[in-house]
Structures are given as structure tokens and as C-alpha cells.
């Protein structure tokens, strides 16, 4: 996603001299081209995230459009009160770009994981939250972030994601995307783990559980309609995210379902249960250790489907 982001940023910077690429001692070589071509639109704030975020709010107050790029927890948590008071409360046109969504920086450990970022950003007024699932989506989300006048949090992974979209599509902020149809069960997912959801869904299909997969690339504002429709049409919903169970996508879905009386749906959240991401190894290792691998998705989906059926049977 990183290169996709940079491609989009490059285009934006080319078109609007007010676009400024801001980093906090990171991004090294990957920004080389950008720096070469737009030296006056690049700024390294070093290792001082608080100053960086507030200064960007100040820049934005003078018409600049800073895209602030650093590792998700250092952006959204180290500088949390700065994001809250200077970006969101003052409704400044700052784009916060966090890399390392979930635990893709696996072996670097939880200090480098973005596993609470959605929760802490979601509670802030005025902010839009994009959480793309693939490089193409990251690129579109970057352009969409620019098009919004106001705070945006763009949650990126790293640079290893492969594309999940087979063809071009229209990215509409606030609108979820049905990646795969199905009426037995729905997996609502965000971020690069969407690929695992898709693969699990194919496995489930083979077991006769025809699974719908919905990609939520905009966590805020949330697409209520696509969620409620899935509740009605499939009767069973699993949310899946590389994030603590509390406060992220799953919780957002629960809020929507409860307040809209989507009553008879079976619901279950998948994510980190009362813990930071455990273990070391590669990204896949951590998915296994933390029970959000394809196998786990399939296991939970089967349980859910069975309980849906049995609750239906009970009802008749």
C-alpha cells in the first residue's frame, strides 16, 4: 500500500503546491523521488510526533495540506491529544497517514502495532477514517482524503499487500464494498486481512456455507445500509479486523446493528481479545498465534452458521 500511497501523493503534490508530505524520521528511500521533484513540499519532523502533529495543524490553518506519514501508534497514540485538540477540535485539514496497520510489523512487537488506532480515532469528532484493503484501494483512499476538507486518518499496511480487486472500481467514501456474494453468512472486514476473509469464504463455500464478504474501507462514517442489509439477508455476521475487539470495526458494526433493531442476527467479532498482539514471526505467524488466520475464520464461521440454523429451527 505504501507505494500506492506515494504514487497518489506524488500526483496530488504535482497538482497542488499546498500539498506537503510530512514524515517523522521514516520513509527513507521511498520518498527519494518525491523529495527530488518537490523539495519544497517535503518535510521531515524527526522523532517528535507531538510537535509534528500540532505544527501540521498550524500549517493547515494557513492553507497548507499536510499528509503526515509515520507508524500508526506513533501518530495516533503518541500524539493522541494533539490529534484531538489541534486537528479534530479545530477541524484542520490535516491528513494523518499511519503505516503498519494491525500487526503487520509483526516481530517489531506491540509498540509498533496499530491495534487500538481505530478505537481511539473513531471517538474523535470531525474525522474521516479510511482503512483500505489493497494497494489500489490505498491509492483511491489517498485521493479521497485529499478531496475531503478536514481531518482524515488513513490507515495503511506496509508494502507487501497484493491486489484483491480484479478490476478498477469506484471508491465512494462511506460506502462498503461487497467483495463476494453469499446469503448464508457475512464477513465484514477491514484492512489487508480482507484477503484472508476472501480466501476463508471460498473455503466456506466449498463446505456449503455461501459466504458474503464486505469490505469496509471507510470506518467513519460507516456504511450502515450495507451492514443492515447483510443482517437481514444473511442472518449471521462476523466482523474481522487486525485490531483489539473493542472499539474498532466490530464494535462499530455492533453499534449499528443494536441501534437499528437488527435483531435476529447472530453476531461475533474477531480480533485481539483483551490483549496486544502476541508472539513474533512473520505476519502470517502472528495471525495464527492471535487466532485470526483463515483457519480461525473458517472455524468461527462454521460455529456461527450452525448457531444461526439452530436458532432458526428453535424459532419454528
Amino acid at each position: 500500500m505504501r507505494n500506492a500511497y506515494l504514487t497518489a501523493l506524488y500526483a496530488l503534490a504535482e497538482n497542488n503546491p499546498h500539498v506537503v508530505a510530512v514524515v517523522g524520521d521514516n520513509g527513507a528511500i521511498v520518498y527519494d523521488q518525491f523529495r527530488m521533484d518537490f523539495p519544497g513540499q517535503f518535510m521531515n519532523f524527526g522523532i517528535s510526533e507531538a510537535n509534528m502533529v500540532t505544527a501540521c495543524a498550524g500549517l493547515a490553518s494557513c492553507g497548507k495540506i499536510p499528509f503526515v506519514y509515520t507508524i500508526a501508534p506513533f501518530l495516533t497514540m503518541r500524539a493522541y491529544e494533539q490529534v484531538r485538540n489541534d486537528v479534530c477540535m479545530q477541524n484542520q485539514n490535516v491528513k494523518l497517514v499511519g503505516t503498519g496497520a494491525g500487526f503487520v510489523y509483526s516481530s517489531l512487537g506491540p509498540t509498533h502495532h496499530g491495534t487500538e488506532d481505530l478505537a481511539v480515532m473513531r471517538v474523535l469528532p470531525n474525522i474521516t477514517i479510511f482503512s483500505p484493503a489493497s494497494p489500489m484501494e490505498a491509492q483511491k483512499a489517498t485521493l479521497a482524503a485529499y478531496a475531503i476538507h478536514g481531518p482524515v486518518y488513513l490507515r495503511l499496511g506496509t508494502n507487501r499487500e497484493t491486489e484483491i480487486y480484479k478490476e478498477d472500481y469506484i471508491f465512494e467514501p462511506g460506502k462498503g464494498i461487497t467483495l463476494k456474494e453469499g446469503n448464508d453468512l457475512t464477513i465484514i472486514v477491514t484492512g489487508s486481512i480482507a484477503r484472508d476473509a476472501l480466501e476463508a469464504a471460498e473455503g466456506l463455500d466449498k463446505m456449503g456455507i455461501i459466504t458474503r464478504v464486505i469490505n469496509i474501507h471507510t470506518i467513519k462514517p460507516l456504511d450502515q445500509e450495507i451492514i443492515l442489509r447483510a443482517a437481514i439477508e444473511t442472518g449471521a455476521i462476523i466482523s474481522l479486523e487486525e485490531h483489539n475487539l473493542i472499539g474498532g470495526l466490530g464494535t462499530a458494526v455492533a453499534e449499528v446493528l443494536m441501534e437499528n433493531g437488527a435483531n435476529s442476527v447472530c453476531f461475533r467479532r474477531m480480533g485481539l481479545i483483551e490483549s496486544f498482539a502476541q508472539g513474533y514471526g512473520n505476519h502470517q505467524d502472528l495471525k495464527e498465534i492471535n487466532a485470526v488466520s483463515r483457519k480461525d475464520i473458517i472455524r468461527i464461521a462454521r460455529e456461527m452458521f450452525e448457531s444461526k440454523i439452530s436458532s432458526r429451527l428453535r424459532r419454528f
Partner: protein
């Protein structure tokens, strides 16, 4: 020249009276922190330092002033009123339902306020963004940021200090309201910041010191172009917290506190609040709630 100083001194006295009346009407507020910076604000806004046009609060070439120690908002509002940004009448609504004037300034609501503050340690970084934007946009304005001395205990101040030097922000002036007190006690009893000038010098700033209540000295200093090019400038303004009211001066207790009846009499006479003013705006508070009806008891420890 002297008459100009007289004018500014007279203005300062007026502003102190306004501050007290606003806070008194509201039922509570940070009187002493506001009194500490009256002369500084007066000189900046009315001594020919800041370049502004109150009819065009968003004029791109304006100088920017940021009150980083936002709890002294009650000093800023009367200044903004006299500068023409807001209506004088508004001052009577301070901290009341329906008002735009809160205990900390809100840039989304109040013309002339450049940054919403209240949480300490934000204003300098915000000012840096503004000063940097001047460079990027090739504009010729200056950013002024007023910090509390206690506020300098916040790490973000030092992040910003390093960054401003690196970026050679010579269009940035920081003023420290060096009243030697923070909320609870003297700084040196909590976390001392001496030698303050040496710290900032070591961080690459051009440091000057001044008596923060001496209008002439302030005016001379601010209207002089800084000697060193390519450096941000730090003005250490030696001040007295609670300046102007004998029993408040340099007393930590008065960070956030309201006078009782006896104190009120002393204050009225020392600030030179005239009878008619007193009658029209200063009604003695109802004993039952000690005039504290609109403002919450803050961290600063009101005991009554």
C-alpha cells in the same frame, strides 16, 4: 513618545479592570495568570508591534499571536475587543451560556484567535506551523507565541524549540511569561527551569530578557528587528503573577481563586475601579454560592 507610553499604561489599567470584571461576573476564573501578561498584550496589540486589521481577521499577511497559556484568555478577550475583533458587550458574557467566550479561547468561534488553546504545550508547535507556512507561501508575517513558564516543563516545547532552530524560523518570536509560579507553587519547588536563558540558547535561540510589565522596555524590544538572522527569538519577560493587586502578587493561591468581600474592597481600590463601574457591573455575589455559579472549581484549588 511619552504620551504613547501613557496611553499604553492607561490601556493596561483598563484591561486589568475588564479582566477582573469579566471573571467576577462569570463567578470564577484565572485572574492572576491574566494579570501577569497585560502589559505584554497591550504592547503587542496597541504598541505598534503586531500587524493586523481587525476588519479582516483572516487577512493573509497579518501577524499571528497565539496565547499558548490559554488559561489567561480573560486577558486576551478585552484586548481583542479594544482591537476591534469582538464587541465589547460580549465581555459581559464570559463563560456564560450562549457565549463564544470560554475559559480558554476557541479559534473556531472568536475572530482574532489563531489557535484554540487550553491544554498547555500546544501553542508553540502550532505557531511553528504558522511560521513555516509563511516561508512556504512566501508571506512576510511574523508569529508570536506567549508561553507560561510552568508550561516550559512540557516536552513538546523542547521538541518545538529544536525544530524551530533547525528550520531557521526567524519569523517566530516566543515570549515566556516568567512569573516563577505555576498552578500549585513556585516552579523551583516543583520543577525548576533555571537557567532558562541558557537552556534556550543551547537550543539555538536568540534570547533577550525584559521586564514584562515595563511598557517602554517591551515596546523598544519588540520593535527592534532581532540581531541574529536565521534564528528564532525568545523573549524572557520577567513578570509578577497577579500583578496589580497587592495580595495576589506572586501568591500561588491566586492561580484560580476569587476574592472575598474584604479582599474585594482592596482590589477595587488598587485596580481603580470607579464607583459607577462598580455599581453597573460588579454586584457583590450572593453569599450562598459565592459567585461561583458558572465556572467549575478547577484544578487550581478553590477552597471556599
Amino acid at each position: 513618545m511619552n504620551s504613547d507610553i501613557d496611553r499604553l499604561e492607561c490601556l493596561s489599567r483598563e484591561i486589568r479592570r475588564s479582566i477582573f470584571q469579566m471573571i467576577y461576573q462569570a463567578g470564577g476564573g484565572h485572574i492572576a495568570p491574566a494579570f501577569s501578561i497585560v502589559e505584554i498584550l497591550t504592547v503587542l496589540y496597541f504598541g505598534g508591534v503586531l500587524k493586523y486589521d481587525a476588519r479582516q481577521p483572516k487577512w493573509e499577511e497579518r501577524d499571528r499571536f497565539i496565547l499558548s497559556k490559554g488559561h489567561a484568555a480573560a486577558a486576551l478577550y478585552p484586548v481583542l475587543a479594544r482591537a476591534g475583533y469582538i464587541n465589547e458587550e460580549l465581555l459581559n458574557t464570559f463563560c456564560q451560556k450562549g457565549s463564544i467566550l470560554g475559559g480558554h479561547p476557541d479559534m473556531r468561534k472568536i475572530p482574532g484567535v489563531e489557535a484554540s488553546t487550553g491544554s498547555l504545550g500546544h501553542g508553540l508547535s502550532f505557531g511553528i506551523g504558522i511560521a513555516l507556512a509563511a516561508k512556504l507561501n512566501a508571506k512576510d508575517y511574523h508569529a508570536y507565541v506567549l508561553l507560561g513558564d510552568g508550561e516550559c516543563q512540557e516536552g513538546s516545547i523542547w521538541e518545538a524549540a529544536l525544530f524551530a532552530t533547525q528550520q531557521k524560523l526567524n519569523n517566530l518570536t516566543v515570549i515566556i511569561d516568567y512569573n516563577k509560579l505555576q498552578a500549585m507553587e513556585r516552579l523551583d519547588q516543583i520543577i525548576g527551569i533555571e537557567p532558562l536563558g541558557e537552556k534556550w540558547q543551547a537550543f539555538g535561540w536568540n534570547v533577550v530578557e525584559v521586564d514584562g510589565h515595563d511598557i517602554k522596555a517591551l515596546q523598544t524590544l519588540f520593535n527592534k528587528k532581532p540581531a541574529q538572522a536565521g534564528q528564532p527569538r525568545l523573549v524572557i519577560a520577567h513578570t509578577i503573577k497577579g500583578k496589580g493587586v497587592s495580595f495576589m502578587e506572586s501568591q500561588p493561591l491566586w492561580h484560580y481563586r476569587m476574592p472575598d468581600d474584604q479582599e474585594l474592597q482592596v482590589l477595587i481600590s488598587e485596580l481603580g475601579i470607579k464607583e459607577e463601574e462598580n455599581n453597573s457591573r460588579l454586584s457583590l455575589p450572593d453569599k450562598s454560592d459565592s459567585g461561583m455559579k458558572n465556572v467549575p472549581v478547577s484544578e487550581g484549588g478553590i477552597q471556599k
